[in-house]
């Protein structure tokens, strides 16, 4: 039987069905021993942490698309429930006093609240019941996940109603072959993750679960969005031959599976990876990045939660700080060659994420965020530098570490971080590694772009964040659909400013790299290289096409044409000239 999904990512695979339906949750009925109380409480705590990370991830992904106020309110509500201080206490007490397993305790504590909402008069209160039930299901699913995983093997294609981002990360870890989901909704965020993990994923396939059985054969084509359940021999043969021909396609891409890449004129361009979560490390390794050009650390910053952020602020060793250190250490595995390095960006968060932060900011994007916030809460900065120092100690100075400062607008900010970093290293007895840690500024604020020459003398490197630079330069919020037209990567202002930065920094030893989304677009990558950029960092799957483009261009030829871009008067002209410059290249497949 053939099926068609509304949206899909990835390639084609044949596998066996594994039906995953966490909505039919079966609670464990057993009573626990007093000696197991701590273990069950830890399970509940870990489920709360997973749900917290998951909702923040969803929120963040939604922030990159379109989000209206009421959707934001729902995200906020979910997070507040997860972080409800009474909820945690009540679950702990329930486990201890009634000797229940974690999943039972969560179920019963939520039941009490749901019943209260049911008897309340106004529909406005009753309307929240599905949300509260949903949060309960996710917590119970998080507690039970470990048991489900045992049943999944590598030949599986997971079929489910819908998937949360944390579930997809979980399946990716288990190396499932593919994923099929009936519903969209939050699943669309899961799709972004599936793409970054390279797993074929088809969703919006109505009614498929009722028509299949566990262990049956299934063909999933993520490219076309097609699924065949219970295929006959002819269909299987056809699918096998198609998969084979795509593999040979892949073979031609294979030579781009690792760096370094050289242009036709022999210039080496370093191609690195952007990371956000630890789980991405293994997948990224597959694309042979030459180090990490941007490691985001916001996921380790527990906003507003009582325990998490307070711990980080006080510089105690918390679970988050251990997680962050482990993330850094694992990312070092992506530094294969001498000279490869990792770039850790300091927390890039706004004041609203701090506990006890009572000032209201009219305009958070122009407010206390990035390095401004870290300077206002120095403890936070010091504790993160401490985490980096510990990771450096563990790595015994084998690889270079780069510390990237977000939201820099003045040179003093670079000086301060440099001094504090030195102080932390000396205090930790790591002075001998001081030469192994470099300090750099993120260029995303127009004032920083205009003083790039000054920053280049003070910093060891500069990294251009094209997304925010564009947004601040155009004074256009990129999540605001009313002004999305102003956010145009071909705007002459952006290209002039990048050129002037490269020229201005030319006299210094500071290296300029690009880590924004534009670096992952092959034609922009080619232009950046022609302008003089020698290192680019992007999401892992983009590395192949970017390397292919770079190895097909001759920078000497392109440079002659670049002048035309800076003479162009409009974005449309820049677009036309870019296409013209690059159409001359016949990017070959061999």
């Amino acid at each position: 039987m053939k099926w068609r999904g509304k949206f899909s990512v990835g390639g084609k695979v044949i596998g066996t069905v594994f039906i995953y339906n966490p909505k039919q949750q079966v609670l464990s009925g057993r009573a626990i021993e007093a000696s197991e109380v701590k273990k069950e409480q830890d399970k509940a705590a870990s489920a709360l942490r997973i749900a917290d990370l998951e909702y923040r991830k969803i929120n963040q992904l939604a922030g990159n698309t379109v989000k209206d106020e009421s959707q934001q309110a729902i995200f906020d509500f979910y997070l507040q429930v997860i972080r409800d201080p009474s909820l945690r206490t009540e679950i702990y007490e329930k486990i201890r006093e009634e000797l229940l397993t974690a999943d039972q305790a969560v179920f019963q504590v939520f039941r009490k609240y749901i019943q209260k909402l049911e008897v309340s008069g106004s529909t406005l209160f009753k309307e929240r019941i599905p949300d509260v039930v949903d949060i309960r299901s996710r917590l119970i699913a998080a507690i039970q996940q470990k048991e489900i995983l045992v049943k999944i093997d590598e030949e599986c294609i997971v079929v489910c109603r819908e998937l949360s981002p944390s579930e997809i990360i979980l399946f990716a870890r288990q190396k499932v072959k593919g994923i099929v989901a009936e519903k969209g909704g939050l699943t669309s965020h899961a799709a972004i993750i599936a793409r970054s993990m390279g797993i074929p994923f088809v969703f919006g396939v109505d009614g498929i679960i009722d028509q299949i059985t566990n262990g049956a054969r299934i063909i999933v084509d993520g490219e076309k969005g097609e699924i065949i359940t219970n295929p006959d021999e002819a269909e299987l043969d056809f699918a096998r031959s198609e998969i084979l021909s795509r593999v040979s396609d892949d073979a031609s891409r294979k030579k781009y599976l690792s760096g370094p890449v050289f242009t036709k004129c022999g210039t080496r361009i370093r191609t690195m990876v952007n990371l956000e979560l630890e789980v991405e490390v293994d997948k990224a390794a597959h694309y042979g990045p030459e180090g990490v050009g941007l490691m985001r650390t916001e996921a380790f910053f527990l906003d507003q939660s009582q325990g998490g952020a307070a711990g980080v602020t006080n510089g105690e060793t918390t679970e988050e700080s251990r997680d962050q250190q482990r993330f850094i250490e694992r990312s070092l595995s992506l530094c294969k060659a001498d000279g490869d390095y990792i770039t850790i960006r300091l927390y890039d968060v706004g004041g609203d994420k701090l506990p006890g932060f009572s000032e209201k900011e009219e305009n958070p994007a122009l407010g206390l965020r990035g390095i401004r916030l870290l300077m206002a809460r120095k403890q936070l900065l010091m504790s993160q530098l401490g985490i980096i120092a510990e990771a450096l100690r563990q790595s015994a100075g084998k690889h270079e570490f780069r510390v990237l400062i977000p939201m820099v607008s003045s040179v003093e900010e670079v000086r301060l971080v440099r001094e504090l970093l030195h102080e932390v290293l000396v205090k930790a007895g790591l002075k001998q590694y001081a030469g192994k840690v470099k300090t750099g500024a993120m260029i995303e604020v127009p004032s920083a772009a205009l003083i790039a020459d000054i920053l280049a003398r003070e910093a060891d490197f500069l990294s251009i964040g094209t997304n925010d630079l564009m947004q601040y330069m155009m004074a256009a919020d990129r999540t605001n659909t009313l002004v999305s037209g102003y956010y145009d990567e071909y705007h002459p202002a952006l290209w002039r400013s990048i050129k002037s930065m490269i020229d201005a920094a030319g006299g210094s030893s500071a290296e300029i790299s690009i880590c924004g989304e534009m670096a992952s677009v092959p034609k922009f990558a080619a232009l950046f290289a022609a302008l003089g950029i020698r290192s680019l960092s992007m999401a892992a799957p983009a590395l192949i096409d970017v390397r292919k483009m770079l190895s097909n261009i001759d920078l000497r030829l392109m440079k002659k044409e670049l002048r035309r871009i800076f003479e162009a008067t409009s974005a449309d002209e820049v677009r036309a000239i870019t296409d013209e410059i690059l159409s001359g290249l016949n990017v070959s497949d061999d």
Partner: protein, 92 residues
């Protein structure tokens, strides 16, 4: 510890969004914050607690704050009640 009686002014009561605003505001202060209603005393930094109060328009509540910044917190929270939690429209 300080206490103050207050009436819910906004037409839809303290439903999800006002509850969310209330809890977020309260969490910014160090002081403990409880609400008394119909003989119950709930932790007002708990979203589930505030929501299950199901406080509708006209409901009379008693706010109880206790801690180093109780005075400042009370002023801010009372202001929230008076301004209807910043809800401009009450369609949802």
């Amino acid at each position: 510890m300080i206490k103050q009686k207050i009436k819910v002014m906004n037409s839809s009561g303290i439903h999800a969004r006002p509850a969310s605003v209330l809890v977020r505001t309260a969490s910014r202060f160090k002081s403990d914050f409880h609400i008394h209603s119909h003989g119950y005393r709930i932790n007002a930094k708990s979203i589930l607690g505030v929501l299950t109060l199901a406080a509708e328009q006209g409901a009379e509540l008693e706010l109880e704050l206790s801690g180093p910044d109780e005075q400042q917190a009370m002023e801010v929270i009372v202001e929230l009640f008076k301004t209807g939690f910043g809800m401009e429209d009450e369609e949802d």
